[in-house]
């Protein structure tokens, strides 16, 4: 065990954790909106809209995240037309490509989580709202969405942890996130175990925090109160 290496690499890895957290929070933020949008589309009665939303979530859940990042980062640059538009400003940056890929990926999983949450809402609750004369729009925003969010908290907590692990793939498109820096230190010092313990410890600590925050929220918003 090389404890000196563990101590000297700790600040470097902690600095890289900031990149990981930035990637995670940005993709979760955009992904939640995308997920909500596609969950609503999935519940639409129009078969084309419905199938489109299903196709989106099927494709992004059925292929590895690595393929998705590579298509966006290496693939889209190949389209000549895209290079002339303003989109190129975003797409030439690996940072934004990673965020786009993560957003699309987590959006697909989130849409499934929210869809099943919407479907488990008891029809009686919506009927109660209707008989009280509340408009459909208000029922949706003030009754269905809050209940669906509460219902999906445990599953969404898992999704946050999965996404946090997913951000490690940003290191494959030259970003120096926690895994990227860990790999760099391993390949220069050839001490994989020491670096793994430090980097893995940081990841576990984040998992621990996320897990407990979700648990707290679940308790706070439980129906039994």
């Amino acid at each position: 065990m090389d404890f000196d290496l563990m101590i000297t690499s700790f600040p470097k890895l902690l600095g890289a954790t900031v990149v990981t957290l930035k990637l995670l929070s940005a993709s979760l933020f955009f992904g939640l909106f995308l997920g909500l949008l596609f969950a609503i589309l999935r519940l639409n009665k129009n078969i084309f809209i419905n199938k489109f939303a299903y196709g989106y979530s099927y494709i992004f859940r059925g292929t590895p995240l690595l393929v998705q990042i590579f298509i966006i980062y290496f693939g889209l640059g190949q389209i000549e037309y895209l290079r002339t538009t303003f989109l190129w400003v975003i797409l030439k940056e690996p940072y934004w490509c990673a965020i786009i890929a993560f957003t699309l990926n987590t959006g697909a999983y989130t849409s499934e989580i929210l869809r099943s949450a919407f479907q488990t809402i008891k029809p009686g609750i919506i009927e109660a709202g209707k008989s009280l004369g509340i408009s459909n729009k208000i029922i949706f925003y003030k009754i269905q969405i809050p209940i669906a969010i509460r219902q999906s908290l445990p599953a969404y907590g898992n999704e946050i942890i999965l996404m946090m692990k997913g951000t490690s793939l940003a290191s494959t498109v030259t970003l120096m996130d926690l895994t990227g820096v860990a790999k760099y230190i391993i390949s220069t010092t050839f001490k994989p175990i020491e670096v793994f313990i430090v980097a893995g410890g940081i990841y576990l600590f984040m998992t621990f925090i996320i897990h407990n925050v979700i648990k707290y929220l679940e308790k706070k918003y439980s129906f039994q109160q």
């Binding site: 099927y58 494709i59 059925g62 292929t63 590895p64 995240l65 690595l66 393929v67 998705q68 590579f70 298509i71 290496f74 693939g75 889209l76 640059g77 190949q78 389209i79 942890i161 946090m164 692990k165 997913g166 951000t167 490690s168 793939l169 290191s171 494959t172 895994t179 860990a182 790999k183 391993i186 390949s187 050839f190 994989p192 175990i193 793994f196 980097a199 893995g200 990841y203 576990l204 998992t207 621990f208």
Partner: protein
């Protein structure tokens, strides 16, 4: 289309073999995972706190750390660890482990953590009466587990194991960083030499979709078969 031709002109045959490699790695990793799950599930369900701790440590660490980091640990640390063990037995030559073994071990350990959780959940959802009935009938411990609990557990575990299979299948794409020529690595090579990444990575995505689709169909059949009479 000519990019996908078989033979020397296209990448069809290379991608075909790469797909077989992905399937081979996934199946090996899944089996390695079962092996780990069979060791760690009893530990997690054990009466003894220390054994529980070992079991929980395994599943918590593996499920809380990115797959890529575990793969790097195996890739850079694998031959070092083997050489260390070999040196105890007096063998000091350089040992290089094959990328297939490193990859399927790394993915196998990850998949094992998920399988452990699935098995634990399945065993816990079996009715206590089943254990008691088996005991009353005078079936010994071995028979209780293999003839009564295991068949029931497997049926309950199939839907969740199909999720583990999907995760494992998708995780194999990460082994491409170690140089093992599976779908992702082959697409990377093809994309590099033809300068057509969009086509090859999209094709890789189609291959993965095809694999997940076909395996889901097969698993659904299994599920129906083992749910007869329930």
């Amino acid at each position: 289309m000519e990019l996908l031709a078989f033979g020397k002109t296209g990448w069809g045959d290379e991608l075909f073999y790469a797909t077989l490699m992905t399937i081979a790695v996934s199946i090996t990793a899944m089996l390695v995972g079962f092996f780990f799950a069979l060791i760690f599930t009893p530990l997690k369900l054990s009466k003894y706190k220390t054994l529980n701790l070992v079991g929980n440590f395994y599943t918590t660490v593996i499920r809380g750390v990115p797959e890529l980091l575990v793969i790097y640990l195996f890739f850079f640390g694998g031959s070092g660890a083997i050489m260390y063990v070999a040196s105890i037995f007096g063998y000091y030559e350089y040992i290089e482990i094959n990328a297939f073994i490193t990859g399927s071990m790394a993915i196998g350990i990850i998949s094992g953590a998920y399988s452990t959780e699935v098995f634990r959940g399945a065993i816990q959802s079996i009715d206590k009466g089943q254990f008691e009935a088996a005991k009353v009938l005078g079936i010994n411990k071995f028979g209780q587990f293999y003839k009564i609990i295991l068949p029931q557990m497997l049926r309950l575990a199939i839907p969740n194991l199909s999720n583990v299979w999907q995760i494992t299948l998708k995780d194999t794409s990460l082994i491409s960083v170690t140089g093992l020529v599976e779908i992702m690595r082959q697409s990377y090579i093809a994309a590099g030499s033809t300068r057509d990444p969009l086509f090859f990575y999209s094709f890789a995505a189609v291959l993965y979709l095809l694999l997940t689709y076909v395996s889901m169909k097969l698993i659904n059949k299994l599920e129906v078969k083992y749910s007869r009479g329930c």
